[in-house]
Symmetry: C2
Subunit: 216 residues, 2 copies
Amino acid sequence: MQTATRPAETTPSAHDCVYRGLRTRIMHGQIAPGAALTLRGIGREFDVSMTPAREAVHRLVAEGALSMSSSGRVSTPELSHERIEELAALRALIEVELASRALPRAHMALIERLQTINQAIADVVSNRDAVGYIRTNLEFHRTLYLRAQAPAMLAMAETVWLQLGPTMRALYGRLRRSDAPQYHRLIIAALKAGDEPGLRLAVRSDVTQGLRMLAG
Amino acid sequence: MQTATRPAETTPSAHDCVYRGLRTRIMHGQIAPGAALTLRGIGREFDVSMTPAREAVHRLVAEGALSMSSSGRVSTPELSHERIEELAALRALIEVELASRALPRAHMALIERLQTINQAIADVVSNRDAVGYIRTNLEFHRTLYLRAQAPAMLAMAETVWLQLGPTMRALYGRLRRSDAPQYHRLIIAALKAGDEPGLRLAVRSDVTQGLRMLAG
DNA sequence: ATGGCGCAAGTGTGATCACAACGCGCGGCG
DNA sequence: CGCCGCGCGTTGTGATCACACTTGCGCCAT
């Protein structure tokens, strides 16, 4: 089965390829909550055997991105309100810290890139593109947090994003279209002003605003 | 990641058994940093084939408990000072929140159990039992945080403990023996008094005190 | 004696197979 | 007409095997 393409000199291990593919799909909300997955189906889709598919699925289950029934059947989880509230609180805790650490290192080039991404968000919002909205919104946050130089914290934040992925799409349906970049502008303003309390409040508000209606 | 699920009457799968065995060993500091592991060796030790051993190892690598070289060789990681500082900050963020959420639900039976565990800590400390100290100390924190009714946060905290596991033992060697339960007593006192700011400070101090000397 | 080279043992990866458990649908019975 | 039981297809699990790659050790040439 490993006959098709081997162009690169570095070996991109199959299970990692499957893992990344599924991971971005889940994080971007391309899989509905409650959807079932099968190892053979995944293997067929990615042109690998069951072994790499099983490893990728187990890894995602371990990270909370997928849930596994007692019989081993795998599906995307449907989160309870309590769990959504918890994950929102975790986002607030970690991302406020990441933003605070990124603040002293945020120079003008970063702020301009954030503004560019924010414009892209406005575009996908006007196009009713749910997946594009989630992806671009996460890109905004990741771009800011990369400046914090805190890989372990960023990994934790991405794990939380991953767990919230499938429900994000459901959230998008109820979300008012126009208020998407509202707190993003506050974040950018606080970055420009070097206002740390304002930045913390803006990030916390941005993270909490959408999730509150799902949890409450 | 989810440790709360009961296996019920079903036979626990082999890879999960290997995973839990390795996980507790790593978290308790029973494996030195930099030690190498082989899939066939693990399989031989747990009397399973390579397949469950590989899954368990990959899962631990995904959680940051083990590190994998470019050739796929697996060993326990040796953390940099920056990473230790990050993980300590994460502990502070998450565990302070967990303690704060546990405070309104903490009744007398819980406080008594914490005092019992604290006495056990004093015992193992006097016996120079590093592994026992780490295990009992984690039991103290877990017992408190279980009252927060926040499984996602607790899972995050345990992931951080897991990553710090191999270096915890190295920390224990430099640690003053007598000051171990010092902040624990402050935690218990704050719980008794219902003093939330005091509790937050005590937990933050307890989490940060030992790790600061490793990171700085 | 020492440094480079090649072979052999060992390791991770992925495919395939045998097996047990679960789910679902069909058919018979009340 | 409805309900229960059973059999087949499907799924996850774990063992085994073939293969590519790394590693480390010994041997030969300088």
